[in-house]
């Protein structure tokens, strides 16, 4: 640093170690609890030295919590949201930045305003739409009295009824979370920094718009895409409210929600070792993604939210 301050340096490292301990202790404790047999974990206070039951507990949690199915569901959901979010918002940003069309401004503003509508503020109506995605169309048809109109012209009794429920399906888990204002902004911001000459050159060479997109924009966006993969995978994996609402079938439940059933209740055996072993399993995939892609993660977080 600027000057020699041995005392302050000591304080710095002390506070850092303390900070790391505060941040890491709950997880360390979880790990220790997950390695102990039931008698040990129920002892007060619980020992702080790891035991040898880790594999047993992991296995019990895996079977008891039906984690094989749930982890797979979580993975499909997280991967689907990641791929969906990135492709949908990249295409939209491309249209907004590189094309002049009538509804450009409206398209941009309407994407922007979704920032103000997180799923938590529209729980019930979103559930209703998901229960029947064609509900809105149905209601519009009813409002315009299309039935009566057709009856008037054809003379037949006529009733239009379309229904498609996305409850308990991967589509239902993924689709409503695929729109993303932040990702669209990130790509828009990035496309604006790309030199004009690239597009001009591509046009002179006779490249079609889609060719320009796949051959030039896509390779240039690699780091942005990597950053968004980390952020969106973690986001998708850790979703709670939405899967809780729309999955009733245990076969469609995601891992983070399923964990709740492993928590011992008041009158149960205190099988906290199993519950916390389950927690360790479920937190592993996103933690791995963040650890291995830390550089992109930090970039993604800082860029996407500003």
């Amino acid at each position: 640093m600027v000057e020699k301050t041995p005392w302050l340096d000591l304080l710095t490292y002390t506070l850092l170690i303390l900070g790391i301990a505060i941040v890491g202790f709950p997880i360390f404790y979880t790990f220790v609890a997950a390695t102990l047999p039931l008698e040990e974990v129920a002892r007060i206070p619980m020992p702080l030295i790891p035991g040898d039951q880790l594999l047993v507990n992991l296995k019990t949690a895996w079977i008891k919590g039906n984690l094989a199915t749930q982890m797979w569901n979580s993975f499909i959901m997280a991967a689907g949201i990641t791929v969906g979010k990135i492709s949908v918002s990249m295409l939209a940003a491309y249209a907004i930045v590189y094309f002049d069309f009538r509804f450009r401004k409206i398209a941009f503003v309407s994407v922007f305003c979704t920032l103000m509508l997180p799923v938590e503020v529209r729980i019930l109506p979103t559930y209703e739409v998901t229960a029947n995605v064609f509900g809105p169309i149905q209601r519009i048809l009813e409002a315009f009295q299309v039935d009566t109109l057709i009856r008037f012209f054809t003379g037949n009794r006529f009733k239009i009824s379309i229904e498609l429920s996305l409850l308990d399906s991967y589509t239902g888990l993924i689709l409503p979370l695929v729109a993303s204002a932040t990702a669209t902004f990130l790509f828009r911001q990035f496309f604006l920094t790309i030199p004009e000459e690239l597009c001009e050159a591509a046009k002179i060479d006779g490249a079609s718009p889609m060719k320009f997109f796949t051959k030039i924009l896509l390779p240039l966006s690699k780091t942005n895409i990597a950053a968004l993969i980390v952020i969106d995978f973690v986001y998708g994996w850790n979703q709670y409210l939405w899967p809780l609402l729309i999955t009733t079938n245990p076969k469609m439940m995601t891992a983070v929600i399923g964990l709740k059933r492993l928590i011992p209740q008041m009158d149960d055996l205190p099988t906290w070792n199993v519950a916390l072993a389950g927690a360790l399993i479920v937190m592993m995939p996103p933690v791995m993604v963040v650890l291995f892609m830390q550089r992109w993660f930090v970039k993604g977080l800082v860029d996407a939210e500003k």
Partner: protein, 296 residues
């Protein structure tokens, strides 16, 4: 903004923007308008009969003591969570920024909890504070003689969810503070050091004011997080109890609408939350303008 050189096509831009538009119309705007619409309706739980009641749902909501209690709890919860986790994040980031050794490891160790789901954070802290098995509950009992029981005591339960929520958010704040600290020019700090300002004074007079945009941004983001994303923590840890002591506004929307099937009231509460988030977003964008001035 549009590029100077752009493509012209009559159909392609519409095609490109179609997927995004379909998703936001179906799953964002339609439900939001439905919520607005339903907040003026009164219907029985089976949705057989509905009638238009103007602002009745809102007057009923705001004359309800429980809703005011929930508002109070939400604000207390959000600001405590935000302050606690911002303060910790700032302290750790300032220290990590000073550290010269083991930089990469320190950062990794502080960053990775970001990946942990709020619900899992809830489970972990529930165990740490468990009245019979939790080590923290045990230590508190032994050292301070306080009986800790989040299952029965409302204040204890609220404290527990605040800790669990704030802990999960430390990494997030840390990342932004580190980014903010690194963008402060070293020359400013050095000049102040030459003028004889102590490290603490330099931090207070130079670093903190230059960090104020980050600070403000994080305040808004943390409050948004505490309002909306802590649902998982509350659902796993307390389910809004005991006696409604941790019933935040979002949890109440879920509970009244989904469990209690009071559609009108739930919709009215959704509208109130929309207003809250519109205000928060507006605040956040004021910050963005400020930030542009700082970085020139």
């Amino acid at each position: 903004m549009l590029k100077r050189s752009y493509f012209s096509s009559t159909y392609l831009p519409y095609l490109l923007i179609l997927p995004q538009t379909l998703v936001i119309l179906t799953f964002f705007y339609w439900p939001a308008t439905q919520a607005l619409f339903q907040s003026f309706l009164l219907s029985d739980p089976f949705g057989v009969k509905t009638q238009f009641v103007w602002l009745d749902n809102f007057t009923r909501l705001f004359s309800n003591q429980l809703y005011w209690k929930s508002i109070g709890i939400t604000f207390f919860f959000s600001f405590s969570t935000a302050l606690l986790s911002i303060a910790t994040g700032l302290l750790v980031a300032a220290m990590a920024n000073r550290a010269l050794h083991a930089k990469a490891i320190i950062r990794t160790l502080l960053v990775w909890p970001y990946a942990i789901a709020p619900a899992i954070s809830g489970i972990v802290w529930l165990f740490l504070f468990h009245p019979s098995f939790g080590v923290i509950a045990f230590s508190v009992m032994r050292w301070f003689g306080i009986h800790w029981n989040p299952v029965l005591d409302g204040a204890d339960a609220l404290f527990l969810v605040i800790i669990a929520s704030a802990w999960k958010q430390i990494s997030y704040n840390f990342v932004f503070f580190i980014a903010g600290l690194q963008s402060i020019p070293k020359s400013l700090i050095e000049a102040a050091a030459i003028d004889g300002a102590s490290p603490l004074r330099r931090f207070r007079v130079i670093t903190l004011p230059l960090l104020s945009p980050t600070l403000f941004f994080l305040m808004v983001m943390n409050v948004v997080y505490a309002f909306f994303e802590t649902f998982g923590i509350i659902h796993t840890v307390t389910q809004g109890g005991p006696g409604g002591a941790t019933m935040t506004m979002v949890y109440k929307v879920y509970k009244d609408g989904f469990v209690g099937l009071d559609l009108g009231s739930s919709a009215a509460q959704s509208v109130v939350l929309m207003i809250v988030i519109v205000v928060l977003t507006a605040l956040q964008f004021k910050y963005v303008e400020k930030k542009v001035q700082y970085t020139g």
